[in-house]
């Protein structure tokens, strides 16, 4: 007989993926397979400067010497790297000067995703860069930002227009040799966003990139580089979706952030890649390396992420706290449903004196999913009076899911303070009944309780994104009762 829990879980588990449509659009796709020639071809197609090709080739050659990491608490069949196409671009690919020139089918796609691409949304104060498969489609508000000296463009464009900056900072936080997926990304990365905020400038609006994988059998390897000079401030948002497909698709991105003296960078992600169907078929493998360096004193980098998508998430946005009095923050909500697997967390590497870090991780497991927190706090010898506070809470819905916590703490300086708190709880029948007695149905009740659980993190998101994230959580909780 089905228990109350089973019925509830089935209801909750049968949510559908709303961004699962495919856009019919003519594409230039490189044939499947990866070799030195592929790397050269990508660089040639993108008309890159020589130094970038060199960077790619070094990365590729290094990648060949590496083995795929196996330490994460996730399981998946071996990936055939020769069965993936490493570059896909919409065919009509001229330079876009205004939205009118962009393929209407593309704009329609972004409209469906609810992205405020049109200039009329100026009032919303969000500048958007949209990456469709491998190519950045349009960057809005470029002019408005230019006045302030802020550069916000696709990575490819930046490679042409600001090669000196790219050369200086690319690979400076995540070297190509960092790990298997970072090396792969460095060899074949297609596009991404570049942000540069000059000394003393507060970026006047939230910057936002939407990533979309559309073509089948392609991987997406975007590269984001954010540099905030002395005293600069920028808040950057990233959203991701992909169509519903039966095969798995690989997404291996790299994000690098550099914060100089007194600079602050806030990086928020709402990740909603296709998670696969309820039996675990299809979905995105999301193997991402995100790292920031607080290079200067009193600098601050803050990661906030809401992870609801992907079949597998392998992601540890980290901060190297090199500057004295620098601050690193990581706020995360990760929801897994059906057979999703998430192994996510952060690394806080304290080098500077009086550096501080805060980690708040909320994992929610539903269905038969597995949700792991993996975090490292390292306090180096030089990091006098460094402080860390970590809090990892897990919420289980039903009896068939799992929550795991793997904290690694490594302290080499006795003046440091490290605190770690962890809780695991189950949504109690009592809580659901209480909500029902006040008129909320079971779904609303669970959604409310889960939102309450995640609130501390959701509150860290910029206003507009917070609303989106709450909706996304509600959708993840939603059942198709009928």
């Amino acid at each position: 007989m089905k228990t109350e829990d089973d019925i509830m879980i089935e209801d909750l588990s049968s949510k559908e993926y709303e961004a699962g449509f495919v856009t019919e659009i003519e594409m230039d796709i490189l044939p499947k397979g990866l070799s030195e020639d592929t790397v050269r071809e990508i660089s040639r197609l993108k008309k890159e400067p020589e130094f970038l090709l060199e960077f790619r080739l070094k990365a590729y050659r290094h990648w060949l010497t590496l083995k795929e990491p196996k330490w994460a608490h996730v399981h998946y069949p071996a990936i055939d790297y020769q069965d993936i196409s490493y570059f896909a671009a919409p065919k009509k690919q001229a330079k876009y000067n205004s939205l009118d020139e962009v393929d209407p089918a593309l704009l329609e796609t972004y409209k469906k995703l609810g992205i405020p691409l049109e200039e009329q949304k100026l009032l919303a104060g969000v500048a958007v860069d949209a990456v469709f498969d491998s190519v950045s489609v349009v960057t809005t508000f470029k002019e408005a930002l230019k006045e302030k000296g802020v550069i916000f463009s696709s990575f490819s464009e930046a490679a042409h227009e600001h090669p000196e900056l790219i050369r200086k900072y690319l690979g400076s936080v995540v070297p190509y040799s960092d790990n298997y997926f970072a090396a792969l990304n460095s060899a074949v990365f297609s596009d991404g966003s570049f942000v540069f905020v000059p000394k003393g400038v507060r970026c006047p609006m939230e910057l936002s990139t939407y990533f979309r994988i559309n073509a089948s059998n392609t991987g997406q390897f975007e590269r984001t580089l954010i540099v905030a000079e002395e005293g600069a401030y920028v808040s950057y948002l990233e959203g991701c979706t992909a169509p519903q497909r039966d095969e798995n698709q690989l997404h291996a991105a790299v994000v690098e952030i550099v914060a100089l003296d007194n600079a602050e960078v806030k990086y928020s992600t709402v990740q909603n890649w296709y998670p696969g169907d309820k039996d675990g078929k299809g979905g995105i493998y999301n193997f991402v390396t995100k790292r920031g360096i607080c290079k200067g004193h009193h600098s601050k980098i803050s990661w906030t992420q809401v992870e609801t998508g992907s079949a597998i998430t392998w992601k540890y946005p980290s901060v190297i706290l090199r500057g004295d009095y620098s601050v690193g923050e990581f706020y995360s909500v990760a929801v897994t449903n059906h057979r999703q697997q998430a192994d996510t967390g952060t690394k806080m590497i304290h080098i500077g004196k009086h550096s501080r870090s805060t980690i708040v991780s909320k994992g929610i497991s539903i269905g038969q999913s597995n949700n792991s927190y993996r975090g490292q706090v390292k306090i180096a010898k030089s990091a006098e009076h460094a402080r860390n506070f970590s809090q990892c809470d897990s919420l289980l819905v039903g009896n068939r899911c799992g929550a795991h916590t793997f904290p690694y703490i490594d302290i080499e300086n006795s003046t440091g303070t490290v605190e770690h708190e962890a809780t695991t709880s189950k949504i109690a029948e009592d809580q659901i009944f209480y909500c029902q007695q006040r008129g909320l149905d079971q779904e609303q009740a669970v959604s409310l309780i889960v939102n309450g659980f995640a609130k501390e993190v959701l509150n860290k998101l910029p206003m507009e994104f917070a609303v989106e994230a709450q909706k996304l959580l509600a959708i993840t909780m939603e059942g198709s009762v009928g």
Partner: protein
Amino acid sequence: MITIKNLKAKIGDKEILKGLNLEVKAGEVHAIMGPNGSGKSTLASVLAGREDYEVTEGEVEFLGKDLLEMEADERSREGLFLAFQYPVEIPGVSMTNFMKAAVKAHREHKGLPELTAKEFLALMKEKKQLVNMDTQLSQRSVNEGFSGGEKKKNEVYQMAMLEPKLAILDETDSGLDIDALRVVADGVNKLKTKDNATIVITHYQRLLDYIVPDFVHVLHNGRIVKSGGKELALELEEKGYDWLLN
């Protein structure tokens, strides 16, 4: 309002309600008293639709509808309210959000438009005064860190917000000092109209000094063994339950 006929219910293999009959009309206050383990709280839970209990026999008609056919949340939206003996904590969910969701669900059910933020806040303010809630309360998470008295006040406050047809107060007096008891009872009395009804479940006569019942029933071993007017409560206070049960 509500007509309960031959209601039998069990939890696991244990039968707790063994053929209970009760009728409550609009405008009435009924008190249900009885010793520990007589089935008082079970009655409240079964009427509210808690799933742990299985109804094995009997009928309950609520405002012309079959109550037992409805899910717990439908019962609430139809106008049945339970003030919990042990209100549950929901961390991270503010009282404001909680009530907003509840009021919205109730209004949708009645085909009414959602209140604007301004209207909603005005409503909260008005109802808070009813139970002397301090203003901070609504910024706090549902019942989290509330004292016993605050939790009970909060139940009556929610009752005021939802304006039920039938309110069931399950041991609302337990854990209250005399001042809090007075405030809570006062709130309940203010909410009384000729169109709604209240069932007060209590162990002690004390609460009935403040919420004066029209009828008093004694529950024992899953059945109502004696019914009377408000004097019955006083008699019970004086003589205890034994003289009735033997």
